[in-house]
Symmetry: C2
């Protein structure tokens, strides 16, 4: 049962079926029932197994002469044909019960039947589908959706979101507000899809999140906003990303960091599926500094230990030149992780690990100097070691455990990668500085911590948010003086902050990722009905696709063909 027991769906309202295929029990014996479903399996004109989204029911085909037309109909129907059957629920003969099947005590003796739609020969057997290439499964997504796994995933997703809505809307007075997806480019929005308008040269942009709108709603006195928001990000080809994705988007007025954290803990606890066991709140919290120091990453997987240890003092006495060298730098440290039962490792795994780290035999893993990069290397090493240990049979990370973790006190700004003397926002320019670091903003902005918080689940970032800047002067200072950006493009937001904007903050949860982790699915594609391939293509309907030059005319655009293609077209 996916839902608390007080919720009772009526799956047979408004249709002619009396029951679903997962419903009948011995208590129904003697009842006349009508079922609709797909033929999963049929044997020698004797019986068949009927399937719908709820389960399987065994159907006995009548053998007497008077019903020969029914027998003929059902015996000749290909598997995956859709049928209606009407008949009497009966106990299975003693010894023929199937305890593995929820409906395994009964069978339905058919009286009348109808083939609603016949299925043409499948390009593969449904039950082998999971073994087929993902490209083939995505091309025939509508067949893959019939699998009990995808049925379960999509239904669980729907129900978790419904529970979240109940919590936000019914219990805590949040307002579900839809915000536009046709907006304009945000500064630095290089990953935003463009949508040409009918005004020559003017484009809408599909926003990466409703960030500006939710802040404007707070200025508008909406007080508590949420939206299950479709967001867009054009990242080209990146594994396990989707060009469109969904976030649980939340914003509140008059709230502080702790308030948002308690809200989210309550939200997850309330919507958590019973069958995954309870989760405990409040979630533990670490600072960004601590996370990097202990785990070498800002999204630590805390289901296992193997923390990074500072062994600078020990190393000083070793007399190894490159270690001494590293320690002589201002922030020089030597750190290590201990791989428990590492020797458990077979020869092959050991050498894999050695290879992954480009280690020489007999080396000891010591990484030094430049604390940030050093730690992230050790952090990756930690996770890779865990993968290898588990591949070798050790259970380090309980697959049924859910370790939530808040990561807080991020830096507000980071040096730009391409030019480290300039600063960029670690998250986005609307993030408020940490109240204790306000004066540093004007003296040494690199040292300012932010009021940003990330939510991490089993080593995956599943959410992030912040308390926002509500003071126009401060916002302008950050944009113009620290980030050296043209604030003109955000003038509507700066204006809004001057007209009595309340203090506010919020968060967004990545729904696709969260659901896939709850289910234990390997990819977010497993919790999306019609996902795109990692190149952003729809393999079922072949999108994106070519359009005619005439269709582009009303949008005042034309294709700039790459030289090679243009040449080819010419010849």
């Amino acid at each position: 049962p996916l839902l608390p027991s007080h919720v009772k769906h009526n799956f047979s309202s408004f249709v002619a079926r009396t029951n679903t295929c997962g419903e009948l029990r011995s208590a129904h014996v003697g009842q006349k029932v009508t079922l609709y479903g797909w033929i999963q399996y049929q044997r020698q004109g004797l019986f068949l197994v009927l399937r719908d989204f709820q389960g399987l029911t065994q159907i006995i085909i009548p053998q007497d002469e008077a019903c020969s037309h029914v027998k003929k109909l059902l015996s000749n129907a290909p598997v995956e044909s859709v049928v209606r059957v009407t008949g009497i629920v009966s106990l299975r003969p003693p010894g023929q019960e199937n305890p593995k099947m929820p409906t395994g005590d009964i069978e339905v003796k058919v009286e009348t039947a109808e083939i609603l739609n016949s299925c043409r020969k499948l390009p593969f057997e449904i039950k082998d589908f999971i073994k087929k290439s993902e490209a083939l499964r995505m091309q025939y997504r509508y067949l893959d959706l019939r699998s009990s796994q995808l049925q379960y995933n999509l239904r669980l997703r729907s129900q978790i979101v419904m529970r979240m809505r109940e919590y936000l809307c019914n219990l805590h007075g949040f307002v579900d507000v839809e915000t536009p997806t046709l907006f304009k480019r945000t500064p630095g929005g290089a990953k935003e899809f463009l949508v040409p308008s009918r005004e020559a040269g003017k484009f809408y942009s599909l926003p990466q999140s409703p960030q500006q709108f939710k802040q404007l709603l707070m200025v508008g006195g909406l007080d508590r906003y949420f939206q299950v928001a479709r967001c867009y990000r054009d990242e080209g080809s990146r594994p396990d990303r989707q060009p469109e994705f969904t976030q649980i988007d939340i914003e509140m007025s008059f709230v502080d960091q702790g308030g948002i954290q308690r809200l989210i803990e309550g939200l997850l606890q309330y919507s958590w599926p019973e069958e995954r066991g309870p989760i405990t709140t409040p979630f533990p919290s670490v600072t960004y500094e601590e996370a990097l120091a202990d785990y070498g990453t800002d999204k630590p997987d805390t289901r296992f230990d193997m923390k990074i240890v500072d062994i600078s003092d020990f190393s000083r006495s070793l007399g190894i030149r490159f270690v001494q060298n590293a320690l002589s730098y201002p922030h020089g440290t030597v750190k290590a992780i201990c791989i428990p039962q590492g020797m458990f490792l077979g020869q092959e795994q050991q050498s894999e690990l050695v290879q992954a780290l480009k280690m020489q035999v007999d080396d000891v893993v010591l990484l030094a100097a430049g604390e940030h990069k050093q730690c992230s290397a050790l952090g990756s090493l930690r996770v890779e070691s865990a993968d290898l240990l588990e591949a070798a049979g050790l259970v380090l990370r309980d697959p049924t455990a859910f370790h939530f973790l808040w990561v807080v006190d991020f830096p507000l700004f980071l040096p730009k990668e391409e030019n480290p003397t300039e600063l960029e926002s670690a998250h986005h320019p609307f993030t408020a500085p940490h109240p204790s670091d306000m004066t540093l903003l004007y003296s040494d902005p690199t040292k300012v911590r932010s009021q940003h918080y990330d939510l991490v689940l089993n080593g995956n970032e599943v959410g992030g948010g912040s308390i926002r800047i509500h003071n126009a002067e401060l916002q302008r200072f950050v944009l113009e003086k620290v980030l050296k950006e043209d604030s003109e493009v955000l003038s509507h937001l700066l204006d809004a902050l001057e007209f009595g904007a309340p203090p506010h903050g919020g968060i967004a949860l990545g729904l696709d990722r969260l659901i896939s982790l709850i289910i234990g699915a390997p990819s977010i594609r497993d919790v999306i009905a019609f996902p795109k391939s990692f190149r952003g293509r729809d393999l079922m309907g072949s999108a994106p696709d070519y359009v005619t030059p005439e269709e582009l005319e009303s949008y005042h655009i034309q294709v700039s063909w790459p030289v090679a293609e243009a040449e080819a077209k010419k010849n």
Copy 2:
């Protein structure tokens, strides 16, 4: 109260306020409370009125010397500044109660206060806002959102949608499935926005509805699907349309027309706001033919009578030549409507009506021949007459009445406007023919009725749907033989129908229109947080906007400037 009384929001969870500004009553007297809100009004340093989304509370400013800093703070804060006040709830002095104000029995005597954000001088008074031009209101939408009307509209919308979800998801086992908005162009999809991809010449398209996906979900065995779906339609400039809009999108397997109708009646009854009075079900139903004959439109407003009457027999005896002429045609009829108390009309209104119809004085309204066009003219006349009668003080259409109506048995195909010898789908090519008219499909498709149904409320179409074609052969026949369309672009759907597609049908309700009718708002812009202008512009953030040629490069497109602009740029 917008919601049934069993739903109790906690508006003060996770924040430091103890109450909202609409909550305090005499039962709270003596309590120490903390409120957050905007200064609505302040008088001579004596008191102020604090406002939030829930209401207003009178705040008494302390006058004693010890609190002079609090007095100074609150007296100097401009209206629409955001403040926190903490103080004691007290009864108002006898005679000073305000029975019009829900909190009118009490006031809060401030002990401490804090200005959270000061408001700069407003470009207009908030209370005069409604009188300002709509363009100005849309530019400062975040200020307009503070009005009690927009707060009410957006909150009611949120709660109605939440109730719809409860009905569909919790009571009837529907699955909320998100479908892609980046897809490919559908045949004839001239109104679909394009989204350039990073593959040269290839474009996504923003779909006008999830039609294909919801049918594919049925093929995938999802059985019952719904989605509050964002849809897109590029219609250029049309009044009271939005380039993006929302529909309650529903699809079911194994259902017939009656099943969908009962579902929707139940849905509306369940989600209907108590304060609008009950609605009765089932809704009445008329055929398309009857609607045209009686009301001259396929979306009749049945709140008032004034039906169109066939006066052919009477007219035959009149001996007027053009009437005789009209009656001599095969489908020639003469029809009329009677305007009750039409003489109530003042001279001015009479002449307006005369002008609207291009009538001469003393003419009698008689329209003849070509039944469809004839009726639609009389249909417009009927509504215009009602407008005029109401402008003159007569109440024809009860503004508190909600008349739902099903219109059924639409024609499946209509002659193309530009070439009447060819046919196009009256709705879309997936609509199933009426079972009684199946044979006509092959002999005389123009006579085939469809299994399409529209839901009409007070003369507005608020929904439409149909039973779909689930047979691949029939679908191919309609596409290729009747509509003469290239079915290749829909090959994925035709394939899907061959793999055991169940019989299915569905509907979509236009949420923006429905909510605006329930509220009685003049425009759908009044129930959308950030609407676009009728030219599709966002007047607050200035979208759409220009982008640099560099930004277009990765999408392999360039702007084709209209000649005049290109010339201007050259010079």
